[in-house]
Every structure is written in structure tokens, then in C-alpha cells.
Symmetry: C2
């Protein structure tokens, strides 16, 4: 475990990942309530909402109101998602978010063709115009991500060589555009990863780019989220996207695509028990998870929010020991 | 990953762990249906039921009828649980089970006092009389287990030294009783383990007893089950107890104790994807998991049963590739 990090950064995506997929109408006030609750947990970054087409994603139509409504806590970064200049403009107009640009390539051409009607080559050009967009709005870009890096429902296996080639292309695009990439995120978009492929792909990227900060975006559709995060940590990954309570999918839907990100508090629990710092207060995070469940109105897949942390049990044991000594 | 096993043995405990905790009355016929379904999956061992007091555990009152009713499949071992000579006699009387004895010590005295009203020393004596019982009934004993090996709700941390001391005592008791232990099971009875403690405890036991087959009994109360199993495999553990669909607990119960074993099909999925043989047909196992959910009548926590395996997706991709070539 020589490579295990001393500290990991867990970036909260629950409010965006979660509320985007929920069918039930969730009021703006309750969305704000969750963001404000998460702000008290010690999480360093919270993705608040998504500035996408209200026609395509009606659940996100109140993005502006959510951003206007929450209370910024000093030291916390508040981010949002956008897919084009219109979305970015809306995010910038709030003057309340921490706007940072990110470049993205997708490792599966079939997924790209299906979802964005683009070839791999067209996607590279799209990144060029996205760099242009960020320059136009004077937005710093320091991060890139590779979607479907571990496998694809429409293309099957994704080779490590393909992923390495994508990283190379991202660095070329960045250099060409005068951008310095600090962080690379590998996304298991369709939950194909297991600890074995995490080790293989992360290991290969790390070997070629030893100074790059690596981040994992893991989905829990097949129950591998926490194990994959652990395998990632063993390979020196220090940053993870996660969603409080496992928000972002209904585990009881027959639709396999509907599974959420790895659960934030389960990940924080594992880190805490293994002596890895996260800066997060687990008890407060469990409160946020229970709040998220109350807001969506159905059970969420997180485990520690149900099973409880060990801190309370330890405190109870310590109390009893003290009582016995006093007696 | 040099220590990763080529093959692991997954021992199914679902019918026993699961039906013991379910409140709703489950008919004997449906219990038999699940055992017969599991028999078709390639699992090498299935724990069918529990011969315990019908007053204490009314859900297991039909243990004899369940055993009489299922159809033995050649090559599969069918086991049961008992806690005393009365239970063992009932199990033996069925003449249909694979009866094998196991010794057990508990690493937490507070847990022992609470659950069995015994001290650690009294528990050692209990093992002596259990060896006597197995001799009396001419039952082979080749396995021992340590309960609460990773922590206890009533005692807190359990030191690695304590666990090593328990193993030493078990070997002494075995030698004294003329028993040869082949397998040692470490049970995370109250779900305190994380990959870090799995590595520490398993590593220490393995270092001192390099030839002993190690087994893990993992509960998933805090979502660590699969990650803990993976950490165990990295330390060379080759045998795991598991429960189909995660049977054995209701993840939506507020009661933390009510969480099940690590989910069989999620574990099989991980192994299969990592090239570790289990001998289990994942698709058939998913069918058994869906059957289990139908039988208990509420959602069960397994993930792969909802997210699906990757085999079907790969087959679909292969079909499309073939169709394109033909066109």
C-alpha cells in the first residue's frame, strides 16, 4: 500500500447528478437546502446544478434560482455543469460560481455517435472550439477528462492504448491552445470498471504522466464503486467525484443506466477508517445524505447513512469503559 | 497484485442468512425454490437452513421440511447451521446434508457476554465440549472461525494480537482434541472492516500460518463488502461467504445490525471481470437473485442483479460488429 495517498479530495456531484435524474418534481427551495447542508460538511467542492437546455432536462430549469438561493461558505468551491457557450454564459452571469474550464474526449466512438452525433475526429475539433470559447470568456482551463475510459455499452472493451492515445491528444490540444492541464479525470461512464481495469488503466496513465493529478469518476451500477475507488487509491489517485447518499440513480429501476456515482459518505467512511484525510465531517455528511433521501422521497443506495459510522459506537464503548473505571 | 488468486470459492449463505431475518412469512415451498435455483448456478456450497430453536427463530421452524424438499445436485455441498448437539442431531437425522464440523471463538468478550453469557475462557471450554460433541457423532472437523475479528459494537477495536492469539488457541484446542484444521474463517460480524484492516489482520495471520486456507465472512452494513473482499484477495484469501442478492438484511431498516452478507453475484461479477475463476454462471445467479427478491417481496441490495452483467452487452456489441461486416 506504499502508494496510498495521505489525503484525498472528494468532489461532491450529488445535487447535479441527483436532481437531474429524479422524476418527481423537487422544489428549488429543497435543492438549495441540500447545497447549504453539504456546505457545512467540510467538502471542498460542490457541483450545484447544470446549465443545460430546460427543454431537454426540465429538472434543471431552475438552475439560476438554485445558484441565487444557496449561501456561499468561504473555502468551498461551487461549480456547475454546462455543455456549450450558452450554458457557460448563464453560469458566468450568476457571478456566484467558481468557473473553471474542462476539456473532454470520449474513448468510445459509438457512444459519441449515439449521444452527440460526432466521430472521434469531430470530437477533437469540438475540443478546439471549446478552448476558444474559454479564451473568449477568459475562463481558466486546467482539467481534462476521458469519458467511457473503462468500457462502453455500445463499443465494448476500451483498450488501454486508446485511453493513452486520448490523453496524448488532450495534451496536444491543450498545448496548441496554450492551456496547462493539471488534472486528468478518467470516467467510468457506463460502470464497466473493476479493480483490475482501474489498476491497469490508471497504472498505464500514471507511468506515462507521473506528475499529472489523476481523478476518477465512478458509477456504482454494478456495486464496484468503493472497491474501484480503493484500487484507484492504491495506484495513487487522489481525487474522486462522488454523490451524497449515492444520488444520481434509482437502484431499483430496471434501467441499468440509472445508477448513481459512488456514494460520498461511504467513500469518506473508508478513508477515515484507513487514516486517509478528506477534511469531511462524516456525521454531518450522513445528515446531508438523510436529507437527500427525504428530498427525493425514496430510498437512496448509500450504506453508511443506514449502517451508521463507527465514531458513535466507539464513543459509547469509551463511555462505558470510563463508567466502569469510575465505579 | 502478485498474490491475487486464480480461483476463489464462494460459499452461498443466502437461504440461511436471509430467511432467518425476514419478517414476512415465507413459505417452505419458496425457500426450497431458491435452494433449487441456486443449485443450478455452479455454486459449490449452499447453506440451506439453520437448525436452531423454533421458539427463538420461528423463521427456521421448517428447517427439516426445507431439507427434505430440495433436490440435491451432484457436486454441490449442502450445509446447515446448528448451535448445539440438539441442532446437530436434527441436521444429521435428515441424512441429506454435508455435515462438517467447525470450531468458533469470538474475539470480543463483551459481545460474548452479551450474546452467549460467556467469558472468553468459558468460550474456550465450550469449544472443548463442541469437539467432544463432533467426536461423539463421528463428524469431521476441519474448519474454525473467529467472530468479530475486525471490531465490535460493544468492545470497539479488536487488536491484531487478539486475533492472532485466538488463532493460536484454536490450533491448541484442535491439537488437544485430535482435530486438523484446514480453513480459518475471519468474520467481520459487525461490519467494522475496511480494506486497511483486512490487509492488516489477514496479513498478520497469513504471515504466521502461511499454509492455512483463509476465508472471509463479510457484512455489507457500511458498503465495504466488495472492497473488503478485493483487499482479501490481494492478500491471498481464496474463500468467501456471500449471500445471493445481498440477502440477510434490509438495507432500509434503521437497525444497523440488519445488514446482509456481501452480495454473491456482485462478488462473482468482480471475479469474472478480473479473470478469477469462481465456477459460477453469473447469468443464472442473477436469475436466482431476482427470484430471492420476488420471494422476500421487497428490494434487496445487490447491484449486478439490477445493473446487469457485461456479458449481454458484449454479445450485443459482437452481434452488431458481425452484422456490419456482413453488410
Amino acid at each position: 500500500m506504499s502508494d496510498m495517498p495521505k489525503r484525498v479530495r472528494i468532489l461532491e456531484e450529488g445535487p447535479r447528478e441527483g436532481f437531474q435524474i429524479e422524476k418527481g418534481p423537487i422544489t428549488t427551495a429543497r435543492k438549495i437546502e441540500l447545497v447549504d447542508s453539504l456546505s457545512q460538511t467540510g467538502l471542498e467542492q460542490i457541483q450545484v446544478t447544470s446549465f443545460v437546455s430546460p427543454q431537454a432536462v426540465p429538472q434543471m430549469a431552475d438552475a439560476l434560482e438554485v445558484v441565487n438561493g444557496f449561501t456561499r461558505k468561504p473555502g468551498v468551491r461551487y461549480t456547475a455543469l454546462w455543455l456549450n457557450d450558452k450554458g457557460l454564459e448563464r453560469a458566468l452571469a450568476t457571478q456566484k460560481l467558481d468557473i473553471r474550464g474542462s476539456l473532454s474526449l470520449t474513448a468510445s466512438e459509438k457512444f459519441l455517435l449515439r449521444n452527440q452525433k460526432r466521430t472521434l475526429a469531430e470530437n477533437v475539433n469540438a475540443v478546439r472550439s471549446i478552448i476558444g470559447m474559454y479564451k473568449h470568456y477568459n475562463v481558466t482551463v486546467d482539467r481534462a477528462s476521458i469519458m467511457a475510459a473503462f468500457g462502453c455499452n455500445f463499443e465494448g472493451e476500451i483498450s488501454t492504448e486508446r485511453v493513452l492515445d486520448m490523453v496524448r491528444q488532450l495534451f496536444e490540444l491543450a498545448e496548441e491552445g496554450g492551456v496547462t492541464l493539471k488534472t486528468l479525470s478518467l470516467a467510468d461512464t457506463m460502470a464497466w470498471a473493476t479493480p483490475g481495469s482501474i489498476k491497469r488503466v490508471v497504472g498505464a496513465v500514471r507511468e506515462r504522466y507521473p506528475d499529472l493529478e489523476l481523478s476518477l469518476h465512478l458509477h456504482d451500477t454494478r456495486g464496484m464503486g468503493v472497491a474501484n475507488a480503493y484500487a484507484g487509491m492504491q495506484m495513487g489517485v487522489t481525487t474522486f467525484d462522488a454523490a451524497v447518499a449515492g444520488l444520481g440513480g434509482c437502484p431499483f429501476a430496471a434501467h441499468a443506466a440509472a445508477a448513481g456515482n459512488v456514494c460520498t459518505e461511504d467513500l469518506v467512511f473508508m478513508c477515515q477508517e484507513m487514516g486517509i484525510e478528506t477534511g469531511v465531517d462524516l456525521e454531518k455528511l450522513i445528515e446531508s445524505a438523510l436529507l437527500a433521501e427525504d428530498i427525493v422521497g425514496h430510498p437512496l443506495p448509500g450504506s453508511v447513512m443506514k449502517g451508521g459510522s463507527l465514531a458513535k459506537l466507539r464513543a459509547k464503548v469509551a463511555q462505558q469503559v470510563q463508567a466502569q473505571r469510575a465505579a
